[in-house]
């Protein structure tokens, strides 16, 4: 399966008659990290869930790695790692049991070593025997990130990945994302926290009222992005 990790044209989606996406065009190539900014309700989570094949577009075309999303075989999901607003982890299982379960679903070879590596990366060794229900918000978020990285996906979709993380975990995540990007993995992040996301971004985009209203390749001055953001949201751009 070749082709760009993401090629979306005119994605439209409404919920109960309320339009959430109103024609999103987005191409993400291998080695790119697109950071999506936008106010609440702009459609960021809906777009990410669509890219994760959890929602179907109402109108528009979406292809992942050159495969039409509407006819995507289950194997295509092995190339995608998704972190949502919730952890997607079972609260009555431990971190190791959750990762072990997902490793079986994704057919991860050498799962035990990979799980140990990720638990160490997430700093959860000391808590590995406790159920997730007993974890703090930050620990759950680190486990959610470990879960998404478990099978070595080519496309990472991260919805507010820095939420709940302390400075050390933010640095570890930035380093991990930088290494993955350098290795050719593609990623799309949504965030309200430009300062933390900017170091890993190759492109910044602002989603507003269901459309990409502004985009800029390469590094951008935070003040310039903030000015663009204000202009877009206030309707001046």
């Amino acid at each position: 399966m070749g082709g760009d990790p993401v090629r979306a044209e005119g994605l439209v989606r409404a919920f109960a008659g309320t339009p959430v996406l109103a024609g999103v065009d987005l191409v993400v190539r291998a080695g790119e990290a697109v950071v999506l900014l936008g106010p609440n309700g702009a459609g960021k989570t809906t777009l990410l869930r669509m890219l994760a094949l959890l929602l179907r577009p109402g109108v528009g075309r979406l292809a992942l790695f050159g495969v039409d999303a509407g006819a995507a075989p289950p194997a295509l999901r092995r190339r995608i790692g998704y972190v949502g607003h919730e952890s997607l982890c079972y609260p009555d299982l431990t971190a190791g049991e959750n990762l072990s379960f997902y490793a079986r679903l994704f057919g991860v070879p050498g799962a035990a070593a990979r799980i140990a590596e990720l638990i160490a990366w997430a700093g959860l060794e000391a808590h590995a025997r406790r159920p997730v229900r007993a974890y703090s918000r930050g620990m759950v978020q680190r486990l959610a990130l470990a879960r998404a990285l478990l099978h070595g996906p080519d496309l990472l979709l991260l919805d507010e990945p820095f939420t709940g993380l302390d400075a050390e975990a933010v640095a570890a995540l930035q380093q991990q994302l930088g290494a993955l990007r350098a290795a050719g993995h593609a990623m799309v992040l949504t965030t309200h926290d430009l300062e933390r996301a900017a170091p890993v971004a190759t492109r910044l985009a602002i989603l507003h009222r269901g459309r990409i209203a502004w985009a800029r390749d390469g590094a951008a001055e935070p003040t310039a992005v903030a000015a663009a953001y204000r202009a877009v949201v206030s309707g001046r751009a």
């Binding site: 869930r49 994760a52 094949l53 959890l54 929602l55 179907r56 289950p74 194997a75 295509l76 999901r77 092995r78 995608i80 998704y82 949502g84 607003h85 919730e86 952890s87 997607l88 982890c89 079972y90 609260p91 009555d92 299982l93 049991e97 379960f101 997902y102 079986r104 679903l105 994704f106 057919g107 159920p131 997730v132 879960r147």
Partner: protein, 221 residues
């Protein structure tokens, strides 16, 4: 199949750890047995005739409670999205949840059936092999339909009321077949229950295949 087995093992592990479904299902099942036995207050001679109805009423209500709980697991922390984001055919998710529900119902039956025998003065031991066949067929048919509707109801706000409303009318043929088969087995062994068993087999096949085919439409957006 790998995914279905992983889901089965995960559900059983969670149930073993929390015992939330089993505890509520046991209490409800035993309570129903006692209430129905006391309400009818049958003579020892007449009591065994009540066994099929009492047993299956207990299974239906306890089964609904147990299967609803199975899908609440997937709602918490949006775990269903975790399953749907994995490289699995949704039919594998159905198979895994169905197998877990069959095991849960079988454990419930293992408690309720001997108690029904004791409360209703019925000697079930001589007809146990035939009874096990009927219980298993009824269990699979119930779980096949309830797993499908449990997934559907779990996505709605009114899930506690929606599932019984959708499920119970469709269960009528299964319940008629199960009660008749149990009556026939108690009276004359499995050979006497051929027609009712055929109804159960047909129900199981139809709804297991329907669940297998339709599950993707129920859980996917």
């Amino acid at each position: 199949m790998r995914g279905a087995l992983a889901i089965l093992a995960k559900d059983l592990r969670i149930e073993w750890r929390t015992r939330e479904s089993l505890a509520s299902v046991f209490v409800l099942g035993v309570l129903l047995l006692i209430v129905l036995a006391v309400a009818h207050d049958p003579t020892p001679e007449a009591a065994p005739a009540l066994v099929p109805a009492v047993m299956w009423v207990s299974f239906v209500f306890t089964g609904i409670v147990g299967i609803q709980r199975g899908f609440l697991l997937e709602r918490e922390n949006d775990c269903l999205a975790g399953l749907l984001s994995a490289p699995l055919d949704p039919a594998d998710i159905y198979a895994g949840k169905l197998a877990a529900n069959v095991v849960l119902l079988a454990v419930t039956q293992a408690v309720v059936v001997p108690l029904a025998g004791i409360f209703l003065h019925a000697d079930l031991w001589p007809v146990l092999p035939g009874l096990l066949v009927v219980l298993l067929l009824g269990n699979v048919g119930f779980a096949a339909l309830a797993t499908l509707f449990g997934a559907l109801a779990a996505r709605t706000r009114a899930r506690e009321t929606l599932m019984p409303v959708l499920l119970l009318p469709l269960l009528v043929p299964l319940l008629i077949g199960a009660v008749q088969a149990t009556q026939a087995v108690l009276a004359g062994g499995l050979g006497a229950a051929r027609e009712a068993v055929a109804v159960l087999v047909a129900f199981d096949v139809i709804f297991a295949v329907a669940g297998w085919l339709l599950f993707a439409y129920v859980v996917r957006d």
